[in-house]
Every structure is written in C-alpha cells, then in structure tokens.
C-alpha cells in the first residue's frame, strides 16, 4: 500500500469540509471571512471571543478560520472550547476531528469524529474520516468497520478500497481483505503491489499455496519491488520448499544486500540442510543488522548448543525467548540446553513452560482451522 495515497484521500475530504458553523457573531467578521480576508477575520473572532468568553459559536468560528489558514494546532483549542461551552453545537466535532487528522493526530481525531458520526450517522464524510483515522491509529478492525460503507458507495475509488483492504488484512479479516484486493486487481491487474497484498490476504486465510501464485505474479511484474522476493521466499519457506525459498531470498538480497530477514531465513535454510558453517555467518549478519529477528537467535542458539558452546548458546536462546515468550520452541531449546549444562531445575522450569504453551495452542485450533463456512439456509 502506498500510504501517501491515504493523504490524498484525506486531502479530497478536507477540500470539501463544510464551514457550517453558525455565526451569531458580528456580521463584519463573517464578511471578512467570506471575502477571503482570513487574517482579519481571525483577529475579529478573537476580539469577539474575548468580549464574550461564553460564546461557543464564536469559538467554533475562530477554529474554522484558523483551520482555513492551516493553523490546525491553534484551531484545536478553539474547537475544544466551543464544545466545552456547547457540546451540541453542530459541525464542530467534525471540524475538530479534521484538524486533528490534518496534523496526523489520528488517535486524537477518533473521538471527535466518532461524536460527529454519532450526531449524524448518515454523514459519509465523517464516517470516511473516522475510518481513515482509525487506520492511521492502527485500529484496523474499527477502520474496516467504518470504511466498508464509503468504499461500497464509491467502487471506483481504488485508494479507499486499498485502505479498507489493508485494514481488513491487518485486522485479520482475511475474507474481507481478499474481496477488496480482488476488486482492486480487477481495476489494476498489472499492479505488483496489489498481487502482493492479495497474496498476504490469502496467506492470512491459510491458503498459502494460492498466496504463492500471487507473489509469483508480483515478482514477475515488479521484480525490484521491495519485499516482493522476500515475501515469496517466506511463503516457500513456510511450505518447506527450501530450494525455491533460497532462490527468492537471494533475489531479495541482490536488491538489498542488507535485508536482515532474508539473511536470517537463508541462514535457517542452510541450518535445515545441515550446513551450520554456512548458516552461522548469515544469521550473525542478520542480527547485526537487526536485533529483533527471532528465528536468527533461535538458530544461532541451536548451532552453538550443538557445538557445546553452551554459554553463548544460552545468550542467543534467551534473546529469542525474550523476543516472543509465547513461542514454545525457544523454551524447549533452553530446556534441553539447561539439561545439557546440568541445570535440572532450570530445565524443568522451561519444560513446564513448553507444556503450558502447547496447551494454550489447543485453544487456537479453531483459528488455525480457518473460518466456519456459512451453513446452508
């Protein structure tokens, strides 16, 4: 997804923002505003609010004039004051939310936009802005919920569909994501990025083999698209097709020699092929570039354990464990390492943890089994 396009969507919305604040203020201030004399109008509204600090509409108008000048940071307190004085003043929540949105304060935008939508549930603009804000605030499930209607009513707005698709993807609503990406692909069949995202959605649905097809298409269309080769390699890796995965990771590294994840997974493949001497340099390079690639630490721990370099192995495995304590593999390797080191108590503790985590996995079964199909009517 090209995130700048989200900005474009917002820009369009902003350009049509209603200046519908009622103006019980002097005619002169309004006239100045209507004549485009925004600086003068701001000055007038400031005088009016000073003269009557209880005039909610005046604060709302001040906020609007400030917004029109792009002074969103100053506009927000004016809107806040207006709402504090009269929470039911029409249009102010929407303008406040928009001011927050324009500053990329997506979290802060959600509440006023939510209030605007609650006050006027038919307001598509408020709904769209709220959806976009939720997306920006990484509240993807909410974003998907709010963007569904606007996207449906504007089928040709690819960017809006793309944001919705990504929201669905990240909210793990893979059916929705797949539906959206497929719509996008119909309009832009040669988009490598769209193929990648469709692949991501398919993978999320557990349809990894089909995801591979999408990523293969993406790589064919945009061979230098960052992460396209890595993504393809990862899917192959996931399917244990290590020859193919290796080729894809090497392709990614030919574009970005310091792609830490590609290095790490390449190292993992070498380890699986019983070539620890090839794996270790790749894994070490990966963790030198990024210190949060868990599989690299896990594999380094396994190699060093095998080489009886127990203390170094311990450091690596503890790091792997820290990066994701909910995965049983690091605990299991730690347990066996502690056992080899003669630390029975620590080994027992880690074995117990493995048991707990695997038990939890039982509850995950339905998620891994995929969604329940609709029952026949």
């Amino acid at each position: 997804m090209k995130m700048w396009k989200l900005g474009c969507v917002a820009f369009v919305l902003f350009s049509v923002v209603p200046a519908n604040a009622q103006t019980p203020t002097p005619t002169q201030a309004l006239a100045l505003e209507q004549q485009g004399k925004l600086v003068e109008a701001e000055k007038s509204w400031r005088q009016i609010t000073r003269a009557d600090p209880q005039d909610a509409a005046a604060f709302a108008s001040l906020g609007l004039v400030l917004s029109k000048q792009g002074k969103y940071g100053q506009a927000v307190p004016a809107y806040r004051k207006a709402i504090a004085l009269n929470p039911k003043l029409p249009g102010v929540h929407l303008n406040w939310g928009l001011a927050e949105f324009k500053q990329s304060h997506f979290d802060a935008a959600v509440a006023p936009l939510g209030a605007a939508l609650a006050a006027d549930p038919e307001n598509q603009q408020a709904r769209t802005l709220l959806g976009l804000s939720c997306y920006g605030a990484k509240r993807f499930e909410d974003a998907a919920k709010y963007l569904e209607l606007p996207a449906k009513s504007d089928p040709r707005n690819i960017e809006l569909h793309r944001v919705l698709a990504q929201s669905c993807l990240l909210a793990k609503k893979y059916d929705c994501a797949l539906h959206e990406f497929r719509q996008i692909l119909e309009q832009a069949p040669d988009s490598g990025a769209a193929h990648m995202l469709t692949g991501e959605a398919l993978d999320g649905l557990g349809r990894t083999v089909e995801a591979v097809v999408e990523f293969e298409a993406a790589v064919k269309m945009a061979p230098r698209e960052p992460n396209a080769n890595f993504g393809l390699g990862y899917l192959y890796w996931k399917l244990h097709k290590y020859d193919e995965a290796k080729g894809a990771f090497e392709s990614e590294l030919s574009i970005d020699p310091e792609h830490a994840q590609a290095l790490a997974y390449l190292g993992d493949i070498e380890l699986k092929r019983n070539a620890p001497e090839k794996a270790l340099p790749l894994l070490n390079k990966a963790i030198h570039l990024r210190n949060d690639i868990r599989i690299a630490y896990l594999d380094i721990g396994a190699i060093l354990s095998e080489q009886k370099r127990y203390q170094e192995a311990l450091v690596a495995l503890l790091r792997a464990e820290k990066l994701d304590p909910a995965q049983p593999d690091a605990h299991y390797r730690l347990a066996r390492l502690y056992h080899a080191m003669g630390n029975a108590a620590a080994a027992q503790r880690e074995f117990a943890r493995v048991g707990e985590l695997n038990e939890k996995a039982e509850d995950m079964a339905p998620k891994m089994s995929g969604p329940l199909p609709a029952l026949p009517q």
Binding site: W4, Y135, G231, H331
Partner: protein, 612 residues
C-alpha cells in the same frame, strides 16, 4: 492424527507489512501528501539460485520396484469404513499383520476389518480377517475356521506367544473390548479374552507385547485414544474443534476427553493383571494414544516403551528394572519436535539407520507436520534430524501412518516406507491442497545420514492413491526381500511385492525362546558381515497398530557370510555364532543353537530394479 498444534508459522502479513509499513503511517501522511515520485528502475538479471548440489548417488544400488499383488494372490476383503467419516473413530482403524499362524514357514496375513457407527451399534463387524498363505503363494480367508469371530470395531493387532506353548497368539485392539486369541496350532484360535482379563474398555488402539520384567512371559501394553460415548457422539461440524481449513469435519481429538492406557502384566498362568498405575505408565493425563512399541533404546537389556500420542507429547518410558517406568520423553527429546511443538504422532519404528550401534526413532505425523527422525545420541538423548536427514520435507503435505525401517535392497542400510492417507474425506472439496487418498513415501538411505524420496523410481507412484493406515513388513514369500502389507481405509488391502534385484545377500532369523518368552519378543540380534555391524530386535507390535514379520531380516550387501551373529535373549543371556552363511532362514533356539536352516533362492540380479 489431528491438526497442527502449537503456533503455526506466522502470517506473512506480520513479517512484511507490520514491520515495514505500519510505522510509516503518520510520517507518510504528513510528509508525502502528493505521494512519492516513482523512478523507473532497471530490471536486474535474476539472482543466481544456488540449489543444493546434487549428491553423487552412483555408488548406491538400483532402487527396487514394488508391485501390488494383493488382488492376484487373493487378498480381497475390504476394510469397512464410513465413506463420510463423520466421527473420529471412523479414521483410526486399522492395522495389518504378518505372522505364521500354522508354523509352515510361510507368512499368513491378518487384516483389521473396521466398522461404522451404525454397524457397531448393531453388533459390529468381525474384528479381523485371517488369510492363510498356501504353498503357491495365494491366500485363503480362514477367519471363521480359525475361530476369529468376535465382533466389534477392530483397530490394531499384535502377535506373541503369551503362554509359551509354541503357538503364536493374536491380540486385537478394538473399541469397547479387545480380543485375545490363544493360538491352538494350525491357524486355529480360542478366544480367551475374558479368561485372560485383557478385554479392557474404551477406545483401544495400539498394542505391543514385551517382557518388561524379564520373567519369561510377555506382557502387554495397550494405548487408548479418547473417550467416546457411542450413543452420544460429538456431532460432525458441531463446534470449534470440528473444522479444518474452513470446512466442517469430524470432531476431535481436541475437545475430546483423552483416555488412560493399560499395562497387563502376564502372571504366567494364562491370566493378566492390569498394573499401569503401579508401573507408572497409566497416562493419567489421558493423552490420545496411538502407535506403541517396546524397544531397548539405551541398550541396558531391559525393554523400554514408546507411546505415540496424537497432538500431544509422546511418552518414552524408561524401564527402571523394578517393574516401574519413568517417562523420559521430554528429557531425551522424543516427546516433541525439535522446535518444542506437539505433533500428531501416529506410527512408529526404531532402527540403526546410520550404523552407529544406536536405535534411532522415526514417527509419522499429521498433515503439515514433517515426519520426525530422532537420532539417538546416546546419553545426550535424541536430536531431531527430520529436516537435515531429508525425511521431513517430502512428508510435509501428507498424513502419515504405518511405517518401518527396512532394508529394501539388502545393501545393509535401513530405508523407510510411510503409508499416508488423510482423515477427512471432506478435504477433497477444497480446491487445492491435500486429498483423502495420498501417495506412499519411500525414503532410500543414502548411507550418509540422509535419505532421498524415491517412490517414483520404485513404481509406487503408479499405484492408485488410497487412504492408508497400517503397514506390516516382512518377507512374505521367503525370497529374502521385505514386502509390505498395507491396510487401505474402506478398500481391500495392498500387498507390495518387493522385486529387488540388487544381487545382494541377506539372511533371516527366526528365534525361539526357551528360558525367555517363546516368540523371543525383545531379543536382539547383532551381526557382523565384512566389518559392518547391524542389529535389530524382535517386536510384538510396531508401525501403526500393526505386526511385522517376527523373523529378523538383514541385508548383507556383498557379504556371503557373517563373521558373527550375536543373540541377546530377552532374559539377558547372550549367544554367539561364528561364520554363518548368508542367504538362509535360520531358526535358532535359545540355548540349543541353530535348529533349522532353509536356503533362500539366490539373490536376484536384473531388470526389476529401477535405474537410479
């Protein structure tokens, strides 16, 4: 049997998207309202892929080919199974066995029959079908004459001589009540289940005979799967544990209550005492037990016990030499995968595949779980070498069941065969992915710790696909080659005749205990031929709910004789024989030496092996 446990590989979404794009959201919105300018980039030449260098296999013998001759030799009885498999019990049956029920020197065949819920409620089906092998190599169904008439829902088989009368006995696990058939000779049996006290209860699956206290009488271990009430079965697709890849399927094992296991101690008077709690092998957690095997994995002379549990850790019970056991599965590393994941464990075998004098462990698994090979490292336990050995990757798409290490070409190195078949017929409704009927896997030992999957070269991919379960291995026609009997769900069996023509020598040993149990279950034979040491153990129950030929088979390569043959009898006594000729079937009686020698046909050389 069931679905992947533990955390699956992460979705690519979280590898690519969250890590790269999501943090950019505010910055991109703020800094690039017009969007970035795209600069056309030259397309690079494709990166050089570095496929693993193909190893030189020219020193290995040609791969034998296999032919399914079941129909032509008269093995035509169909296994009984509900085509829709709406319940977990529809998926677990059954095993197959090869044993010589009339001591005529030819292996006979026993097949578990299976059943369905409706048929079981109406009394069930005969637990097994017994075929007698005639002199011309054909088989006749003698089930009724043999007295194997108990009905129910058969699961697995295991053979031994529990009363040391010189006639092999047959134990059949079954849902609701297992059966012990006492051999009377001439393939006649008497149902002594109640008298012996081994009928058990519940959903019994795996069984294995072993003399764990070395008193000269074989004892019996029986694994159980889950609790099932036949009048109140979990309904197909009814809850979150009854779906797979988005489709509705049978429920279980998750969500079902597991069941404990049984250990029957042989009192030596024809009766047994259930001692699982006292012995520490009760499985009070209630894991979903399937394949079981007795094995002396640490070579201390006392049989240990491996229990393969579906979707949960395996048990490896170490024999404490005092009638009790300690589970060392976790400590030794065979309970879980090398990544610490619980897997759907099904069929099992042990073998010294790398000629290091140690028994390594192989276990088959559910779909999207590699079959696991655990290399025995001695006191350090076991290393999971599934991927590095090459047995993991080919198995990944399939649901594996019956299996064994066996020397398919008599080159002295143990190969592996795996019978596959899915549990959900509904899987065929998916557009892509696995199917209910799956191909066999044949892993050829490359003599360097790795295996190549050679089912295509062996002609196995030419066979019709089946959903297979049990697999029994043995020299069915006394040719010196190991054949494979396969149970096919809802269909007649397959008998894969091994048409090995490597020209290599081989030998078989039939052991008869005198102080030890009569079928010599647990005896270990170690041979040396041209400096190569091999060993194997006699087992009453292995693979997936199946019984292999009790005779031990060794490929000898070019060796025409063995420098030594050492037998460690189950009671601990050791006998050694020097300069023993190849290409024979020897009957060796404990304390009395070689009592019978049958000469095998000369090793075949020729065109029935596939080119490499």
């Amino acid at each position: 049997m069931l679905r992947m446990t533990g955390c699956p590989p992460r979705s690519i979404v979280f590898l690519i998207f969250l890590s790269i794009l999501a943090p950019l959201i505010p910055a991109v919105l703020k800094a690039h309202p017009q969007g970035p300018q795209r600069v056309p980039m030259p397309v690079p030449p494709p990166a050089k892929h570095s496929p693993q260098k193909k190893k030189d296999r020219s020193g290995l013998p040609p791969i034998p080919t296999f032919k399914d001759i079941a129909k032509e030799v008269g093995l035509t009885a169909s296994h009984i199974a509900a085509p829709e498999a709406h319940y977990v019990i529809d998926s677990t049956s059954g095993g197959a066995g090869l044993f010589d029920c009339d001591d005529d020197g030819r292996l006979d065949v026993v097949l578990v029959n299976g059943s369905t819920v409706e048929r079981y409620r109406a009394g069930g089906d005969r637990l097994v079908t017994l075929y007698h092998q005639e002199a011309d190599g054909t088989f006749n169904d003698i089930t009724k004459e043999a007295g194997l008439t108990r009905r129910g829902w058969g699961m697995g088989v295991a053979v031994a001589d529990y009363d040391n009368d010189g006639k092999l006995d047959l134990f059949v696990t079954a849902f609701g009540g297992s059966a012990l058939y006492h051999g009377l000779g001439n393939c006649k049996f008497e149902d002594v289940t109640e008298k012996a006290g081994v009928g058990g209860s519940g959903f019994m699956t795996g069984a294995a005979w072993g003399d764990y206290d070395r008193d000269g009488f074989v004892d019996l271990y029986v694994s159980r799967y889950s609790h099932l009430d036949m009048n109140n079965l979990p309904q197909f697709g009814s809850n979150k544990f009854c779906r797979f890849k988005g489709i509705l399927v049978q429920c279980g094992p998750w969500g079902l209550q597991g069941e404990s296991d049984f250990l029957y101690h042989n009192r030596g008077d024809g009766t047994f005492e259930e001692v699982s709690v006292k012995a520490g092998v009760h499985d009070d957690i209630g894991y979903y037990g399937l394949g079981v095997m007795w094995v002396d994995y640490d070579y201390d002379g006392w049989p240990d016990l491996l229990v393969a549990n579906d979707s949960v850790p395996n048990y490896l019970y170490h024999n404490n030499h005092n009638g009790t056991f300690t589970d060392v599965g976790m400590l030794t590393g065979v309970a879980l995968s090398g990544e610490g994941m619980e897997l759907g464990n099904m069929g099992v075998d042990w073998g010294d595949y790398d000629h290091r004098g140690r028994l390594s462990f192989f276990v088959t698994h559910f779909e999207e779980q590699p079959n696991s090979l655990y290399r025995n490292m001695g006191p350090q336990g076991f290393d999971d070498v599934s991927w590095t050995s090459g047995v993991g990757q080919p198995s990944y798409p399939y649901v594996g069941w019956g299996t064994a290490f066996f020397d398919m070409d008599n080159d002295t190195w143990l190969d592996l065969l795996v019978a596959n078949g899915h549990v959900y017929p509904q899987i065929d409704t998916l557009e892509t992915g696995p199917r209910f009927r799956e191909p066999l896997l044949l892993h050829r030992n490359n003599r360097d710790g790795t295996f190549d999957e050679v089912s295509k070269q062996a002609g196995l991919q030419d066979l019709p696909l089946k959903s297979r379960r049990g697999a029994a291995f043995g020299d069915v026609f006394n040719t010196g080659n190991i054949d494979v009997l396969l149970l096919n769900v809802g269909e007649p069996p397959s008998l894969l005749k091994n048409r090995n023509a490597s020209g290599f020598h081989r030998v078989l040993f039939k052991l008869i205990g005198t102080k030890s149990n009569r079928a010599a279950i647990g005896a270990r034979v170690t041979i040396r031929a041209t400096g190569v040491k091999q060993f194997s153990e006699v087992r009453g129950g292995a693979s997936y709910l199946s019984q292999n030929d009790l005779r031990l088979h060794f490929g000898l390569g070019v060796a025409k004789k063995m420098e030594s043959v050492e037998i460690r009898w189950p009671n601990g006594a050791v006998e050694t024989f020097q300069n023993v000729a190849a290409d024979c079937i020897y009957t060796i009686v404990e304390g009395a030496g070689i009592r019978d020698t049958k000469i095998l046909p000369p090793p075949a050389v020729g065109a029935t092996n596939a080119a490499r």
